[in-house]
Symmetry: C2
Subunit: 579 residues, 2 copies
């Protein structure tokens, strides 16, 4: 391929709205262009890299015995209503009506469609196990699309769905997919960690995320170096209570509590923040009680936690199964609450009170006084305020105890590039999908589902493989294998050699890009490093006068010379040795 | 691939809602399943055939120097408003709003997105010509989705867009695409006719459709065997007036017209139809004047044509650039018109009167009397009624004169599988897309656009290649090359041979399906013919006892025997010779 015939617009400057390195570089190196918030056009280089990932995924899915089909993007609302996900997804799902007024959605995932298909076509135990997958664009109306392809509203996914006779079969299918995923990410050259995760809006009992560690990863995960436990942050937050460890609700009795100080109101002028309050009273932040108010899908909730902790709002949303957002000023007013000075003793009936275990277990809290510039000390659960539910939704911090072994947890950032779920019969039950088992009984299909974010893998690879100068694609994902770079375009020898090298490398089965532009060599070198093709072959007047060309391996920076006649073989070797 | 590991549900019965043979057979043979009106899931066989078409299209586009990119499906409304197509498409475009209330559409085509891209990235004459294409799913909210994949709401398209410096360059790009299209359809084994067509909502001056002749084709086209002229029916209808041949508007003066009979009202009880009127008065239908009333995008229009002709409503819509629908009973009443008895002499001001050239040229029309059970004879244009615009929108009929040579036109049905347009600078002007020309001037890109309906090609191939027993895929589009069919599943020799044949055929580079089900041979034979794999290899006990297997070419029905050891070579030859 000749560069002058290729739409490959590179940019020197960082795009204004780009934060993540992958976003910056995929735009600068001409892989993508934005069309709307979270929506991109993939330019020819982007199409090439996406197709390489697709091919790896397809090969591994086929090798695992999965069958490719293709489900629609526009899906009818009805099955989604039957599973409850039409409402659960809420605004995160793009919804529309057709000209006849029928409700449709743009599918973020395809459990409903595939379960109905299985119910109709996988009617016998002889048809099971089956694993059906597709590769296609999916949609999610993100509140805040950002980081380019990492959190877009349109993204390329491989989604697979397994159907088994029973839980044991599901576990086998699940483990087969986990193994396929490990092969996929290894072949893609993307480093991943497998972590226990929260099931979110997909549901099911067991699930694992494949996280690609990266500085911009929006998904935090925790790792215990003592016992090896790993989990995503939301799962760690809400999963932090061991079985049976969560105390029940506590009523507000007004009765004395042994060892508790009396509740005393104190003047705290201008202390609407924990920092100000802590400094003013000389009390550590962790002894103050933070009372956060949210609208949770239309119902108000108060969340109590120590003043030095933050609410993990995604964990809260998942624990409640509803979207949450902080109270507006109007809502504080409507409930008679004073923003910045809310104490749990003043939270009216009708607002659910959720408390962190530390709050439930503590005494003598410093809380808001429910009037401006007033706080209360000696506030005690049970005596002064009720707790409707104890729930761990405080954001996990470095050093928090590991729920498995008590050792200190470490927090790292990662990009979710894969997610596998054991769903069980949840969808089959909601949609009446059954098969006839060997014993003549109708049983529900036992399902798993398995996603790979293909456009995210491209971005994650860019996050993991770049330097100051640009991208450094892993060999398997690069848009081209070799870049031929003639430096002296006015020298017929250079041009002829470059053309011969292009033909020779193509004949050796490599994808070759020839930078045939009439621009300065420095521009070509900069672009070569920016685009990140694994092997660069540089043909210049000086080298050729000695019968040699230069090779550079982009990932390592390693350089070598090769005689013209041995360049193709040298490039093939360099590529095979590249990461 | 083993049949027992493949989701390939075949049906004996014709699906209730399926009319077109391709729809019936693609469902019965397990290629697709409906999900909603005009929306399908492609099962594994459908995915395989679609991918084969995709591959042919991609190879020919790449060979023609086009570059693959991928534009979003969800597109912002704004550029569509700037080109006027947001409104022009109306309800035919799926529209939605995101959570922030911004208007979005599901793209039926991508002129807006690609023109903005060209304006940003193809900034110099050196970047031109360029041809950018993609293969992806597109959306159209059809009033009446039908015929399966032929008129769906979700369809797989290849769309390409060429950018040139001038009209001459555009013509070169256009002809290169027409040549590529001829190669594509020839390779796909789909017979096509190239016809001059109407530009519809895409626009531009010159365009051609590639129509695959088929009995169910919704697109009629006309062909003149005398001069070779061919056009789609709507183009033939509205294009039927030679340049300068259309007379201008005619005012209603009330002045006598030489040779015209006087207007006389006659009682015509119960003659609300042309047939009844013609029989009652003994006047041929072509002497009566039909006055049809439509709402055209909010404005009322009356269309006059001889009683024996029908309005081509799609041609009318295209000629007006608006959607049209017949008047409702309420609308007749609101305008003081009597349905079934409307004559042009009674059409009030405010309703545009469009007349067929035959009406404008005629005299002594028998028209409605504008009261129940009354008609008028001797109705004359100019004297008794006005004509605001002469327009040919009567549906073309077999034997109508060819606009090019006057010879008789023949009408045939076809499926539009490709459409190419010379757009000119229309989109570039609307969206301000320019490049810097050699002389330093900013000029608008001169564009062409080129579509292939990939899912339609699959359906068109099924229409052209089937018989009573099922599908007969052209070699290039078949989901598998060879089907191996063991008839005696209880015979170890048969099973072993079938397995060896499967391996041998796969080693020869063929896609092989082995029907390993434990069902009667008759069921397998019926399924084999239904699915339409080009070559069947039948291994049975009787044949094997003589060391032979049977081969059958599905398209021709030709049968042969081959010694077991020569079966692979025989199958390869049979496939190469198959259509």
């Amino acid at each position: 391929m000749r560069r002058t015939r290729l739409l490959l617009p590179t940019l020197r400057e960082t795009p204004a709205d780009a934060e993540a390195p992958s976003h910056v570089l995929l735009v600068r190196a001409g892989f993508v262009r934005p069309v709307a918030a979270g929506v991109f056009t993939a330019l020819p280089l982007g199409v090439r890299t996406l197709r390489r990932i697709e091919t790896i995924v397809r090969e591994e899915m086929d090798a695992a015995g999965a069958q490719e089909l293709r489900m629609p993007i526009v899906v009818p609302a009805d099955p989604w209503k039957r599973t409850g996900r039409w409402e659960a997804y809420g605004e995160e799902m793009f919804k529309l009506r057709d000209r006849a007024g029928r409700e449709l959605g743009l599918a973020p995932t395809h459990e409903e469609v595939v379960t109905l298909l299985a119910g109709a076509e996988l009617r016998s135990y002889r048809d099971l196990p089956a694993n059906l997958y597709q590769i296609g664009w999916k949609y999610r109306d993100e509140v805040r699309p950002r980081f380019g392809l990492l959190r877009g509203r349109e993204f390329l996914m491989k989604d697979a769905y397994s159907f088994d006779r029973d839980e044991e079969g599901l576990r086998r299918s699940y483990e087969a997919m986990r193994a396929a995923y490990r092969r996929i990410f290894r072949r893609c050259g993307v480093e991943v960690r497998e972590v226990e995760a929260d099931a979110g809006l997909i549901g099911g009992q067991v699930n694992h995320e494949f996280l690609a560690p990266a500085g911009v990863g929006e998904d935090l995960f925790v790792r215990c170096d003592a016992c090896g436990h790993a989990a995503d942050l939301e799962a760690a937050a809400v999963g932090g209570l061991g079985a049976g460890a969560a105390p029940g609700p506590v009523a507000a009795t007004g009765q004395p509590v042994p060892g508790a100080a009396p509740l005393v109101e104190v003047q705290t002028p201008g202390c609407a923040t924990i920092e100000a309050l802590s400094a003013f009273l000389g009390v550590p932040a962790e002894r103050t009680l933070k009372c956060m108010l949210y609208d949770a899908g239309g119902a108000p909730v108060a969340v109590l936690l120590p003043g030095d902790r933050e609410v993990d709002e995604r964990a809260l949303a998942r624990a409640l199964g509803r979207e949450v957002r902080p109270f507006t000023a109007q809502e504080f007013e409507a409930h008679g609450l004073v923003k910045g000075y809310v104490g749990p003793q003043g939270v009216p009936e009708g607002i659910d009170v959720l408390a962190d275990p530390a709050v439930a277990a503590g005494l003598d809290w410093v809380a808001g006084g429910n009037q401006p510039d007033v706080h209360a000390t000696g506030v005690a659960p049970g005596r002064d305020f009720r707790i409707d539910r104890v729930l761990r939704v405080a954001r996990v911090r470095d050093g928090d105890p590991c729920p498995a072994c008590g050792g200190p947890l470490a927090i790292a950032r990662g990009i979710v590039v894969g997610h596998v779920y054991q769903l069980g019969a949840r969808y089959a039950e909601a949609l009446g999908a059954t098969f006839l088992d060997e014993d003549g009984a109708e049983r529900h299909h036992v399902m798993g589902c398995y996603g790979v974010g293909i456009s995210r893998v491209m971005a994650a690879a860019a996050e993991q493989h770049h330097d100051e100068a640009g991208l450094r694609w892993p060999r398997a994902l690069a848009p081209f294998d070799v870049l031929v770079l003639p430096t002296n375009m006015d020298d017929p020898d250079v041009l002829r050699t470059a053309g011969e090298l292009e033909a020779g490398l193509a004949a050796a089965g490599l994808d070759v890009l020839l930078d045939d532009r009439l621009v300065a060599a420095g521009v070509k070198f900069a672009d070569a490093d920016l685009i990140g093709v694994p092997v660069q072959v540089v043909a210049g007047r000086r080298g050729l006068s000695a019968g040699a060309v230069d090779l550079k391996v982009r990932a390592t920076g390693e350089r070598a010379q090769a005689p013209v006649g041995e360049t193709v073989a040298a490039a093939v070797r360099a590529l095979a040795a590249a990461p």
